[in-house]
């Protein structure tokens, strides 16, 4: 092998090495982006669950504990009785709404104020004075809590 051939071989190996390193760099970049996207997705999912579905369940259980009495109107409608007013909590189109009503006012699940995003929100009577409040989180996760239904407060 003469000097010119050796030099050409060196150049070829150097170029191939550089290209291989560049390829490794590109693949590593892709892996890192995929890992970052996956980590961000998990954090975002957790954040959504905590501040929407789980918060909705906690909100409703706290309202239920604080009221004088309560009545489950349907699978996604809950009426809370207090002194001089009622609060209707209902779910429509994946959003939890709350509506304040004065005593004697007709109860209808419309015109409420949006409180939380809560897919699959449901409230059910489990017997023994207990209600089960549940909402679906992202990724099929379900948040569910039992709460005692207060018995007083009803005026109509």
């Amino acid at each position: 092998m003469n000097r010119a051939d050796s030099k050409r071989l060196t150049d070829t190996v150097s170029a191939a090495g550089s290209m291989t390193l560049f390829l490794i760099f590109a693949v590593c970049c892709l892996i890192m982006i995929a890992a970052a996207a996956s980590a961000y997705g998990r954090i975002s999912e957790n954040y959504d669950d905590t501040f929407n579905s789980a918060a909705a369940v906690r909100y409703v259980t706290n309202k239920l504990r604080a009221c004088k009495g309560a009545e489950i109107l349907s699978g996604n409608e809950l009426l809370l009785y207090d002194d001089g007013y009622k609060t209707l909590i209902y779910e429509s189109g994946g959003t939890l709404y709350e509506r304040l009503l004065s005593d004697g006012q007709e109860v209808s699940a419309s015109g409420g104020e949006a409180v939380f995003k809560a897919e699959g929100f449901s409230v059910s009577d489990c017997g023994g004075g207990l209600a089960e409040i549940s909402a679906e989180g992202s990724g099929g996760r379900t948040f569910s809590a039992y709460c005692r239904i207060p018995e007083g407060g009803r005026t109509d």
């Binding site: 030099k7 550089s18 390193l21 590593c28 905590t50 789980a54 023994g128 809590a145 039992y146 709460c147």
Partner: protein, 156 residues
């Protein structure tokens, strides 16, 4: 025909690219090691936060059910809705129910009672432990039934 100077320039450029790629990959590997550690930590925190959230919901539900029933078996039946659990009774009269919340967490419900002249005060300890037995979260609830008569077994 290429001049010798052009050949030398081309060779130097190729080597410089090779060295540059090595330096870039070195920096990239150091940065990715740091970032991957952060991703792993965030993933661990997200999992931990989910677990704590589930534990809080379960403890809250157990406390709500127990405050009305004052019966550990009834609490477990309602809470687990038919899923299996282990029941133990101790010489001091306390009862314990344990079950798995997920692959890593074990839930333990322990009921004890304090007898007062007016009736028994039943106390339920709810604790969550990991695989190594370390306590992750624990809470206590009580149910007092002044109208209930104290049974002989409770008095013992």
């Amino acid at each position: 025909m290429k001049s010798p100077i052009a050949k030398v320039r081309k060779h130097i450029r190729s080597n410089l690219f090779f060295v540059e790629m090595i330096i870039v990959l070195l920096f990239f590997s150091i940065a990715s090691a740091v970032i991957l550690r952060s991703f792993a930590a965030s993933d661990r925190l997200a999992k931990e936060s989910r677990r704590i959230e589930s534990m809080a919901f379960l403890a809250q539900s157990a406390a709500e059910i127990y405050s009305g029933t004052a019966d550990i078996s009834e609490t477990a039946e309602k809470l687990l809705s038919g899923k299996p659990y282990t029941y133990n009774e101790y010489p001091d009269g306390s009862q314990e129910i344990s079950f798995s919340m997920d692959t890593e967490t074990t839930v333990r419900l322990r009921e004890s009672s304090e007898i007062y002249a007016g009736g028994p005060l039943k106390i339920l300890e709810i604790s969550f432990s990991d695989g190594s037995g370390g306590i992750l979260y624990e809470t206590k609830t009580g149910a007092y039934f002044p109208e209930r008569t104290v049974t002989d077994s409770e008095r013992q």
